[in-house]
């Protein structure tokens, strides 16, 4: 099977983001493979291990995203395509188109995995738009996946603890959610091998994407206001609980 997996290079959720200019941020922070994409990668690798074939990671990002591409290669992806774009938080329309073109240019997808969302821009649109661009069905928030009768059977979370089981034809786009699997950790030999795996780097301009007429443009980025310092309560358990209730009722007015 030819399985594509979309990965994104994002700041670690624990990173302290410093806004720069109107809508940018400082990049001197720790970056990781988008955590939801880790599930997508793991599932893609498992499918190919079982079915045979090839896993190709596709990433749209700055040149520095190569590090994340390599980390996907270190956990079982066979080769990768990095579509370079010089924008920190590009619009999902552009990203989805770029992913679609890159995949189409590369080969025939039997399956496409992506994370259900990225932890930086949290647009939650890319995989839907990608499916649309490729003309494929899409299921998101997937927590269980298996191939069945030439198609796939997936289980998705649909809020409030409810789950639904869906059968979907192939090829399709799967939006992976936490719980889909237990992503593996990279091992030294894999990390070494990953350095030698091919990564095709292409400029987004070469894909001939037309700027969408409609779409989103990030105009302002601002930091979440400080939550201030924690108040430490002291005294006996009873006093502390009473004080806590008083604060919640009177100061914070949440009760």
């Amino acid at each position: 099977m030819q399985v594509y997996v979309c990965v994104k290079h994002v700041p670690d959720t624990a990173a302290s983001i410093k806004v720069e200019g109107e809508a940018g941020y400082s990049e001197g922070v720790k970056y990781v493979l988008n955590p939801y994409d880790e599930y997508a990668v793991e599932e893609a690798v498992r499918v190919v291990k079982e079915q045979g074939g090839e896993v190709i990671a596709v990433c749209v990002g700055k040149a520095s995203a190569l590090a994340t591409v390599r980390s996907a290669l270190a956990v079982g992806v066979d080769r990768a395509i990095l579509v370079k774009i010089d924008e920190q938080l590009p619009d999902a329309c552009v990203v989805a188109q770029a992913l679609a073109r890159a995949i189409e240019k590369d080969g025939q997808a039997d399956l496409v995995f992506a994370g259900r969302q990225s932890v930086d821009s949290e647009g939650m649109q890319t995989h839907y738009r990608l499916a649309s661009a490729l003309g494929l069905p899409v299921v998101s928030d997937v927590v269980a996946f298996s191939l069945k009768d030439g198609g796939a059977q997936v289980e998705r979370e649909c809020g409030g603890g409810a789950r639904e089981v869906i059968e979907v034809s192939l090829p399709c786009v799967i939006g992976a959610n936490k719980g889909l699997n237990e992503p593996r950790y990279p091992k030294l030999p894999d990390v070494l091998k990953a350095k030698k795996k091919p990564v095709e780097q292409i400029d987004i301009a070469s894909l001939g994407i037309e700027k969408p007429e409609s779409g989103c443009r990030l105009t302002k980025l601002s930091a979440v206001p400080d939550r201030g310092q924690a108040t430490m309560l002291s005294g006996g358990v009873r006093e502390m609980v009473e004080e806590l209730v008083r604060i919640l009722e009177q100061d914070e007015k949440v009760l």
Partner: protein, 804 residues
């Protein structure tokens, strides 16, 4: 937040918190700690938490010992667990030089009574079954080593500090520090605090905090990496925790963490992080990883621990840790300030936090450190050790943090810094240089290209034969030694004599042109400084002290200067050079080069004169440190080459040649002359030594009251010289001295005396063992060597040569 405090500690990492805890515990409960974010948020959070006794320095090892003692009892005192595990630790060796180094640690640790054991590769494999011991020669095993959780241990000390009355203010950033009268005013974003003492424990930000009071602190952050592997059943199923392993030849450490292992390393290229200054708003954030940069060390880890190959990297932690030029911290009083302490530059902060908090608290409260902390003292660096120097130096130091510690290694990086004007002449004469307090100073001279680099070794090196030639030459002809780097301090003014007489236990010379050995003592009566005082004029004295102790000694003088202006201090170190000419032909040389009568009658031993040597007006002292007829020639530094040319020309028929530090060291051992921070440190008083005669009981001096007590209680130890039946490795210092199975003392220094052709150790033993002829043993690199107490000095016991 208090507006007044006795002590303000800046920085809430493990170090600062420990200082607060100890001050409060020992009764100074009006101490305040300021932390700009949360406790541990600088470097402490990312520390691996290894706690071992290992440190190359005898005294720094004691700091580690104190930490381990504290970490094991903090929980019962504070209710907060420290996460302490006793795991033991192994340090491996895969080559003979490393085995020698371990031998030094073994012997030095035995001086401290530590449980340290040699282990064979088979025993290592038994202690750590996951380890591949291929290629190992052996190792040392410390069964009592362990690890802590750095955050928990800091919290435990914080709980303790608060319990004893210490105040911790988090989210309070220091914005400035000013002197106001006898006090410090610490400005913060939450208001000012007036205090008597300030402690800079600001870790990553210590240079910025130091800059607030005009200090340049050589400390730069490097991104340090350790890798936590995913859980392993073989680890999980063990009953006993695996020991910490350091394989220094592969620059890695490994220890158990929960059900897995942590691998840490010192890679070839240490990546400096914000070398110009870490941003104030950085707090507890992991830095981007760079696996490629540490790949070689990971491969080393996999070689030693093959199961790592099949274990995933669960988490790669990269965080900033501070590094100083030699990797040791910067602690103690900050020169030239009053009541401003440093406790920064730590790259092994958890290992020392508990101990250094204890010792710094004591140092602040008592005025003197309980143990000699010179190896860690920030004043070991002078102005040459600036930011740019450190930037260059740590690039060399970081990857070598695990390299073999040798007694005779002078690393090339970031040199030269300070040079004598005759540096090029020295080079042309085949000098092999060492650096001493930033100064390039020849260790020995050679015309053999292969010996232009001294091979670092615990055995006699390729320098040995050259040093032998130099010593013989000095004893038969005349040699010239460049001691331009001497610290030279002029003390003058109407109060100079009285003040100097208070500063030293010796009587300061009363006659112009007289010289006296004038040790300065601390308030405990122990050695503060080695000093020679020459009266050069009315109310005018030239004080010579050890070059490496310049800041230390001048700091002590500055802090003791009277406020009334009756004594003034001028530093002449960088305006005056010094040549020593020594040997039986040195008078002939001086006579040929200088104007005037320099006969023994006109220029007696122990006197000083102003002489024109050629055209250069010099201050010449008939005194030297090698025990031959000789002179110290102080001269204007800008006329040094002229002076050198004059001496070289006059010396040619006398076979004048230059000699170096190694020969001087060999000759001073033969003469039993004391060396600062070897024989002379905070653990010894002059009464234990062969310069007890410098103590003049008919006057007052700093340390007198304490010294009287020592005298009356009976002097506990005595300095002796030992002739050691060494093979190819001489004693160096910190060698245990045994009588039978009983350790009875420790060497303070040692080496080979080429003129007497004996391996010599100086050391302290109990009084009853100090008689010449007493048979003892000295342990060198883990091996016992027979030794005999010999009368001091070994060479020219009647000082006939010096006085001839």
């Amino acid at each position: 937040m208090k507006s007044q405090a006795r002590v303000v500690i800046i920085g809430g990492g493990a170090i600062g918190t420990s200082i607060l805890y100890h001050l409060a515990k020992y009764g100074w409960n009006d101490a305040v700690l300021l932390e700009k974010h949360e406790l541990t948020s600088g470097s402490t959070w990312m520390a691996a938490g290894n706690c071992s006794y290992y440190h190359p320095s005898y005294y720094a090892t004691q700091v580690n010992m104190k930490s381990i003692e504290l970490y094991q009892q903090l929980e019962s005192e504070t209710g907060q667990s420290t996460g302490w595990h006793t795991t033991g630790s192994i340090r491996t060796a895969d080559n003979p030089d490393r085995m020698d180094e371990l031998g030094y640690y073994y012997s030095m640790n035995r001086c401290l009574g530590l449980d340290v054991r040699w282990v064979t590769p088979e025993e290592i494999a038994e202690l750590h079954p996951l380890m591949n011991v291929e290629g190992l020669s052996g190792g040392l095993y410390w069964p009592d080593d362990g690890d802590v959780d750095p955050s928990m241990v800091t919290q435990a000390m914080a709980i303790g500090a608060r319990k004893y009355g210490g105040e911790i203010n988090t989210h309070t950033r220091v914005t400035g520090i000013q002197r106001r009268g006898a006090d410090w005013v610490v400005h913060t974003d939450k208001g000012d605090i007036v205090c008597q003492w300030v402690v800079n424990a600001a870790g990553l930000w210590a240079p910025q905090v130091g800059a607030m009071v005009g200090l340049e602190i050589p400390s730069i952050a490097i991104r340090h990496t350790h890798i936590l592997f995913e859980a392993m059943d073989v680890v999980k199923n063990r009953e006993k925790m695996l020991p910490l392993v350091r394989d220094p030849d592969r620059s890695i450490y490994i220890r158990q963490e929960m059900d897995s292992l942590i691998l840490g390393m010192y890679e070839k290229v240490g990546q400096q992080w914000y070398p110009e200054g870490v941003p104030w708003d950085y707090a507890q954030e992991e830095l981007p990883e760079d696996i490629d940069n540490i790949m070689e060390n990971i491969e080393h880890g996999v070689f030693r621990f093959p199961l790592l190959e099949q274990s995933g990297f669960k988490h790669v932690t990269v965080g900033p840790i501070t590094y100083t030029p030699n990797g040791d911290p910067l602690v103690g009083p900050a020169y030239p300030l009053r009541n401003f302490f440093l406790a920064c530059g730590y790259s092994f902060g958890i290992t020392q936090a508990g101990g250094i908090g204890h010792y710094i608290a004591g140092w602040i409260m008592e005025g003197e450190p309980e143990i000699d902390l010179w190896h860690l003292d920030g004043r070991r660096y002078g102005a040459w050790a600036n930011w740019a120097y450190n930037r260059e130096k740590i690039a060399d130091t970081y990857p070598r943090l695990y390299s073999i510690f040798f007694p005779n290694e002078w690393r090339d990086a970031a040199r030269p810094n300070r040079t004598s004007p005759i540096y090029e002449q020295q080079k042309a004469a085949g000098a092999v240089f060492g650096d001493y307090y930033g100064w390039e100073c020849p260790n020995y001279f050679t015309d053999n290209d292969q010996d232009r680099y001294e091979k670092p070794s615990w055995r006699r090196s390729n320098a040995f034969k050259h040093v032998a030639v130099e010593c013989r030459h000095v004893s038969e002809h005349v040699g010239l030694l460049d001691l331009t780097r001497f610290a030279k301090t002029r003390i003058c003014g109407p109060g100079a004599e009285a003040w100097l007489n208070r500063m030293t236990c010796q009587r300061v010379p009363t006659e112009e042109g007289r010289i006296a050995l004038c040790p300065m003592l601390d308030h405990n009566g122990a050695f503060k400084s080695d000093m020679t005082v020459t009266k050069v004029g009315q109310n005018d004295y030239l004080c010579i002290t050890a070059s490496v102790g310049k800041r230390h000694d001048q700091h002590w003088m500055l802090l003791n200067l009277p406020d009334d202006g009756s004594v003034s201090l001028t530093d002449l170190t960088y305006t005056q050079g010094c040549f020593v000419i020594a040997g039986p032909k040195s008078r002939e040389l001086l006579a040929a080069a200088a104007h005037g009568d320099v006969s023994n009658e006109a220029f007696a031993f122990g006197t000083s004169r102003e002489l024109y040597v050629g055209r250069v007006k010099c201050r010449v002292n008939r005194m030297n440190y090698v025990g031959e007829l000789g002179y110290e020639i102080f001269h204007p530094i800008e006329e040094q080459i002229t002076l050198y040319q004059t001496l070289a020309a006059a010396g040619e028929p006398l076979q004048l040649r230059m000699f170096g530090m190694h020969a001087m060291e060999s000759m001073r051992l033969e003469k039993g002359y004391l060396a600062w921070k070897a024989e002379m440190n905070v653990h010894h008083t002059p009464l234990e030594t062969n310069i007890a005669w410098t103590v003049k009981w008919d006057k007052d001096f700093i340390g007198r009251a304490a010294l009287e007590k020592v005298r009356d209680a009976g002097v506990p130890r005595k300095l002796v010289a030992l002739a050691v039946e060494a093979e190819d490795s001489d004693p160096w210092g910190y060698n245990p001295i045994f009588q039978g199975d009983r350790q009875v003392g420790m060497t303070s220094s040692g080496g080979y005396g080429h003129r007497v052709q004996k391996s010599i150790a100086l050391g302290y033993v109990s009084q009853e063992l100090a008689d010449p002829g007493t048979r003892l043993e000295v342990e060198i690199l883990g091996k016992m060597r027979p030794a005999e107490v010999v009368a001091m000095p070994l060479y020219d016991p009647k000082n006939e040569r010096m006085k001839s």
